[in-house]
Amino acid sequence: MAERTIGTDISPPDLHAKITGRARYAEDFHAEGMAFAKLLLSPMPHARVRSVDTSRAEAMEGVLGILRASELPRPEQGTREGALSDEPLYEGAPILAVAAVDETTAAAAVEAIRVDLEPLPFVLDPLDSLREGGPNARTDGNVPGEDGPTSLKWPDSVFDEAGPDRLPMGEPTAEWAIGDVDAAFAEADVIVEETIVHQSVTHHPMEPRSCMAYWQNGKLFLHGSTQSTERTRGPVAAMAGIDVEDVVMIGEYCGGGFGSKIAGVPIMAVPAVLSRKIGRPVMLRITRYEENYIGRARAGFQGWAKIGFRSDGRMTALDLYLVQDSGAYGASDFFTAGTVATASYQPENMRFRGVPVYTNTPPRSAQRAPGGAQIVAMLEPVVDKAARELGVDRLEIRKVNAPGHDGWLGPNQGPFTSAYVREALDLGGELFEWEGRSQLSGRREGTRVTGVGMGLSPFTAGSNGRDGLLVIRPDGKLHVHQGIGNLGTHSIADTARAASDVLDLDWDDVVVVWGDTSKHLPFSTVQAGSQTTHAHTRANHAAGEAMVGLLQELAALELGGSATDYRVADGRVFRAGNRAAGLSFAQAAERAIARGGKFSGGEIPEDLHDVTKGAVAGLAGEGLIAAAKDNYGQPGAVFTWVATFAQVELDVETGEVEIVDLASATDCGTVIHPRSLAAQTNGGVFQGIGMAKSQRWVFDPQWGIPFTKRFYTARPPGILDVPLSPRFAAVNEPDPHTPVGAKGIGEPPVGAGEAAYACAVADAMGGLCLCRTPLTSDMILAELEGRPRPYGLLDTHV
């Protein structure tokens, strides 16, 4: 028997290339005659292009072409954000692009272009936009409506009533309720109420979204940084105004995405269209400065929460109001936030209200647990406050409220596929030694005070219905074709294990094919929402089962007997009880090629996606080919929970916080790759800590221009800002509704880390909840020293 690979550590197949410099990311591809493009960015937060004078640029030697917004297909769907715009909605929005023989010339040409801009009213704070007479971020409105943006204003009385430190709560654009919160509050034993604020922050993946494009025989070849390979073709085709079949997407490696490169990025349209226009390959190097603008950001919130509890800690009422800073083009984090809150606390009664407001700030998109991380980070300290008032242990209050397998999600109160949340809390509590450590709370040594805190963070972690595609080639190896991207989660390899385990095949005999759509890749998930592990262990499992069937059938045809007489293991299909009587995979591949038909891609299962059908057709005749759709079904929402525990020491003289210990536990179903799982969890936790502790966004209110454009001003956490030895454990109970049992892990650790940090800091401050991110040392010190707060309670981006 081959060793089962699921549950073991492997060295990912791409690692060697990654550490020898051979792994080629988008900017590492150079083509003959390659031109360089540079972007002209809007200097104003909101403006209209009156006219553009490119004559001086065009007269420059070496300038090859200029691309304007009007030359790109108008995006009709989604956010309607184009790569270029004549009505820039944020400072740094690309207006046009110039291609030249080298970058120096392109830059000089951009500087020589005169753009006559009409400044338009701009707004940075959503609440300013909701006031009567307040500016709208877009000429067509400030909130999303049924048919595009519309204008929403609240009467002054709403603001007057709230005062400066409480969220004004006018008419929302989204609202739902479960039960009757008002009645529940009337009966609650403890009620806590807080103004809660979460900043927006740029994703800042290490690799900026550089891309290079060229055209060959009518096809667009695009080298870009994308989280999902196969699913990027469609958006790129739409951007370039061509058929999806004519897009070859090459993205073997993605230097980080975190939700900012889910299915390609709008800016890919620039080299794609510009290279066709000038008839040369075009490289668009995106700098960190540009990445700050066009690189996407998490949506921030200004909110209010009122929570009622019974004396045993059970949450009886949750009333939540969120105003979302949607940036220039919108995001749906706020809605997810309300849903995720139910997966933490299962409130007996709940009311959710929200307004997403456009602002003249960089575009938002999903960022690791969009909405989820924010709400967890904002609510967990408030729950702690209630626990203190109730005299209930903080771990206990989470266990009391956490969902079990009969738990429910969101306004529709649908089921989960599995929820080992209490198990995860217990496991984490044990790992962290919560009982003992929580006694350290408030201990003072010298100027340092200990704080202990925890955060529980749920998020969606799966989807279904994708396709798996496997080929056994005459080399005897199983080639697992993966349409998903390779953004470092090792899922290109880890989800392939579902197939190799079904085939009982040694991992060394598996070849993963990924990263280039010309290599015939099946229809996949977008690599987002932590779906991939779940969706593609299923799809590859389905394809593996199909492959087993084909091998058995082929063996029966070749060697006699019925298909059920044959077993598959160790790279052979053989008669049960007689290993010698069978075919090696290499032989099977050859026979399959000889026989053709369904064995080598000649007949294609009807239920496959067109993309997979095309891939199978492209591979036809190259080996034994099995493709299958994941039809396993999914009777509920797939969710993963992460609980993170932190012990911090707060220096009361400086406001500095050091995390002295950190432990996390998760319920993410079956563990596929322990080391990678721990790394992703810890990494997510660290990202969350970064958001809670140091990472920030700052704009000048007068000019609408951000200053946190560089790493040193944006302050993502470095290796010295996080604990050196975080600990981790997984419940490792399979999700019963998926064959491999695995759920995703990417998203929930972020909120867990953020909340654990925020709660631990609040604990060190004697339970004082500042209920905002980031919680920088200056804010902490001001609070400890009783000095005036240098910000308003509702201010974001300070």
Binding site: K38, L40, L41, P43, E103, T104, A107, V110, E111, I113, R114, V115, T287, R288, Y289, E290, T447, E653, T654, G655, E656, S694, V698, F699, D700, P701, Q702, W703, I705, F707, F711, Y712, T713, R715, P717, G718, I719, L720, D721, T776, S777, D778, M779, L781, A782, E785, R787, P788, P790, Y791, V798
Partner: protein
């Protein structure tokens, strides 16, 4: 004009082999010339295309001002081109001037310390992000301080020493050198001049466009440390948002001479609260003759922040300065 970043504008490059050649080239180019040492400050300006000198004078080959040597009178003589790593790890610096070793070792990151020079760290420009964005503020020759407006984002800015401009000095080694009573040796075509470290830095009231006395044509060549004082206790602490690659919010450097449990003499310097490292003369006078205790520290802290004025977002610096000065006396090792 559109803003392009992260593309260095072309320039002529010189790599003189000695101070004399360098100074001659600096004279030749005047305002159009730019002296390149480690380059960590320089490349920011170049890549932002805010500074576009005609000629760059790269000091990489000027070996005569690199290295650490015994100075006269039992001190040390450090070439301005000595890397921060070399300063931080030098045995004599570590044993005799731990304050400086500590300060140099806390600059940015290992790579930056490997390349960045002591001289460069001392003469670096402020990190005020309004100024660094290329906005036409006072420091850039304009008529406004964007950072001191009512709604400005000035968490990192001045609480004292401001004059129109509220930018702070970002150097980690500067306060240490002021506390150590170092001397700065400056070469120019008209010869060599020497400044006490405290006089080397200037405020915007004197010249709003410069942070040091250096004018075009001047080159900081050496830093001379006097012999370490007997019975000296020292304290250095840099508060920053991230533990690597970050500038200080407030930094304190102090040297106390304690004999018989009583402070005989003291030098207390705080940086990143003013456009120059602030030597706390009143504090020094007040603590002389007292024990380095919590009470003395508390009093010193209060004196240190007398007259400090907060901007919209930096009130915390007053508390932080007070506390750090307190610690620097209470906890001096």
């Amino acid at each position: 004009m559109a803003v392009i970043r992260d593309m260095i504008a072309p320039f002529e490059l010189y790599q003189p082999a000695g101070v004399d050649d360098a100074v001659r080239l600096m004279d030749q180019y005047g305002d159009e010339g730019w002296v390149l040492a480690g380059g960590l400050d320089t490349f920011d300006w170049f890549k932002d295309r805010i500074k576009r000198p005609a000629a760059v004078i790269d000091l990489a080959a000027v070996d005569e001002i690199r290295g650490i040597a015994e100075g006269g009178d039992g001190g040390l003589d450090i070439g301005a081109m000595t890397s921060l790593t070399a300063v931080a790890e030098h045995a004599d610096v570590q044993s005799r001037y731990p304050l400086l070793a500590e300060a140099a070792g806390l600059v940015a990151t290992p790579q930056i310390r490997n390349q960045g020079t002591l001289g460069g760290n001392i003469v670096q420009d402020t990190r005020c992000w309004y100024y660094r964005s290329g906005w036409p503020c006072y420091r850039a020759g304009g008529n406004i301080c964007y950072a001191s407006t009512r709604r400005a984002m000035n968490r990192e800015h001045c609480i004292m020493g401001a004059d129109r401009c509220v930018a702070v000095n970002p150097s980690d080694t500067a306060p240490a050198l002021v506390a150590l009573d170092a001397e700065m040796v400056v070469a120019s075509s008209s010869g060599e001049r020497t400044y006490a470290a405290a006089d080397f830095f200037i405020g915007p009231d004197i010249d709003i466009e410069r942070m040091t006395v250096l004018e075009p044509g001047d080159l900081l060549t050496r830093i001379v440390l006097p012999a370490p004082r007997e019975g000296a206790r020292w304290y250095f602490e840099k508060i920053r948002d991230r533990k690597s690659w970050d500038f200080s919010l407030v930094t304190v450097a102090s040297m106390l001479q304690v004999q018989g449990g009583v402070i005989q003499d003291a030098r207390v310097v705080v940086n990143s609260i003013a456009p120059y490292p602030v030597r706390m003369g009143a504090v020094e006078a007040a603590i002389r003759g007292r024990e380095p205790s919590e009470e003395t520290g508390q009093m010193a802290g209060e004196i240190a922040v007398e007259g400090a004025r907060a901007l919209r977002h930096n009130d915390y610096k007053i508390a932080l300065t007070r506390n750090l000065v307190k610690r620097s006396i209470r906890d001096a090792a």
